[in-house]
């Protein structure tokens, strides 16, 4: 995992306790709200569908894509991908569960920093990404290309937004005084590149699902039009007889 870049999981002790507690409370509140909203969307299908989607995100994060000009490969984070595919509330739950499993079973991301990681990758990346997606989807034409363009821009932005939020949290609750401008510039530079990879793969995956099962893409619900059924020709009955 050492030469893969993607969502950076904050370890224990990186931020001061006050910041960790604050992000933890924010994460807990959001997850509680998402649990209620997702049940409205999926009722008692919530557990199996969100669980299987989380398993998909978990497997998808193992797929690498090459970063042009860098010796490392990037991997999908999947916040916008999940939000466009299954809806934002279910996406918050899926990303939270993936982060929880990574922290508890793989020690990837600190236990006391779980709230911070959920806030960055399950909350901000999904909320900002999906917000951008909905805003653009309303402006762009209601076509497959419009939906894919909105998806790509949202996926691209979600990565530097999460990275910059992390720099912001570090400015509030970091344990060292760093030249924040430099850190922010470096983080943004690297994550713009990762964002390009994230956008490319997100658009390609949403496009592939749209081609096969457009009904499964939550964000493309407005593309669907009721198929006009041909009425039974009035003369048919007499012809048969």
């Amino acid at each position: 995992m050492c030469n893969k870049l993607g969502g950076v999981h904050v370890p224990d002790g990186f931020l001061d306790p006050a910041t960790s507690v604050a992000t933890g409370a924010l994460a807990a509140g959001t997850v509680a709200l998402a649990l209620r909203k997702a049940r409205e969307e999926l009722d008692d299908r919530t557990a199996p569908l969100a669980g299987l989607t989380a398993a998909f995100v978990f497997a998808g994060q193992m797929m690498n894509f090459p970063l042009p000009g860098l010796p490392v490969s990037g991997h999908l984070i999947g916040a916008v991908l999940t939000a466009v595919l299954v809806g934002p509330w279910t996406a918050v739950l899926c990303m939270t569960v993936v982060l929880l499993v990574q922290a508890a079973l793989f020690a990837d991301g600190g236990i006391t920093a779980l709230g911070t990681n959920v806030t960055l990758m399950a909350l901000l990346a999904v909320v900002v990404g999906y917000g951008v997606f909905r805003g653009l989807a309303a402006l762009l034409p209601r076509t497959r290309t419009g939906v894919l363009a909105a998806t790509g821009i949202a996926a691209f932005l979600s990565v530097p937004v999460a990275a910059l939020s992390f720099v912001g949290l570090f400015a509030i609750g970091g344990s060292v005084d760093l030249p924040l401008g430099t850190v922010a510039a470096a983080m943004t530079g690297v994550h713009l590149l990762i964002g390009l990879g994230e956008a490319a793969i997100t658009v390609a995956v949403v496009g592939a699902v749209l081609a096969v099962r457009p009904d499964l893409v939550h964000g493309a619900a407005r593309l669907r039009t009721a198929t006009p059924l041909a009425g039974r020709p009035t003369g048919a009955a007499t012809v048969l007889r």
Binding site: L5, P11, D12, G13, F14, L35, A38, D44, R45, T46, A47, P48, L49, A50, G51, L52, T53, A54, A55, F56, F58, A59, G60, M62, M63, F65, P66, L76, L85, L93, T96, V97, V98, L100, A103, A104, L105, F106, A107, D108, G110, I111, T112, S175, V176, D177, L178, P179, A200, I201, A204, V205, V206, G207, A208, V209, A211, V212, R213, L216
Partner: protein, 260 residues
Amino acid sequence: MGAGPGGTLLARYVPGTSAVHRLEPHLKLVSVLAFALVVVATPVHAPWAPAAYAGYLLAVLTAAAVAGVSPARLARGLVVEVPFVAFAVLLPFVAAGPQVEVLGLSVSRTGLAAGGGLLAKATLSILAATILSATTEPRALLRGLERLRLPQVLVQILMFMIRYADVVGGELHRMRVARESRGFHGGGLRGLRVMAATAGSLFVRSYERGERVHLAMLSRGYTGRLPTGAVSAAAPGAWAVALSLPLAAAAVLLAGMLLG
């Protein structure tokens, strides 16, 4: 993917019968969380901080020895830390503040303490979490989380994810074998399109499997709750065993504060 015979998630578990293996899962969760809290609460810039880190390390290594977790297993757990090692090593060079000479290099004093502190805290917490995942089956972990009053629905989502992660991962693996046996070589934009089609059909298959699983559950009388197995009440002795790790760490912290 490195999946062992038990799959990606179960590969983290090392079967055993040690005192740590036998502890109730929720006690282990509380213990690891409390240990991480004590480690995080240590002031980085205190002169006695390095001694405290050494004390914590001794405590967590003792716990690993009791649990029968091999040093190789602990080292493999630390791999996740690699990106942050790079960050921590850079800290002394970029942080502001008074400079000190180390090995002929001029570095920031606060940066040195902070970088070392970050590294030590992250390493100690990862070691404790590695012991947890090496001695607790994923299913037991779920029971522990449920016992700690994680919302029912979240526990169920977690359960489905853990049960099906290997199924979905296996599907991805079969697709890769099929792709490569047709002569596919990754890389470039064309490769990205093929990978995306793979991921797209992986999503469709996962989602459809979810729908089938839901129907199968309904036909077996699913009412929104799942039996996860009973967690017996923990004996006071078990609490004492589980809390010995964070209590030892707290004693180190207290000694540092009083003596330092």
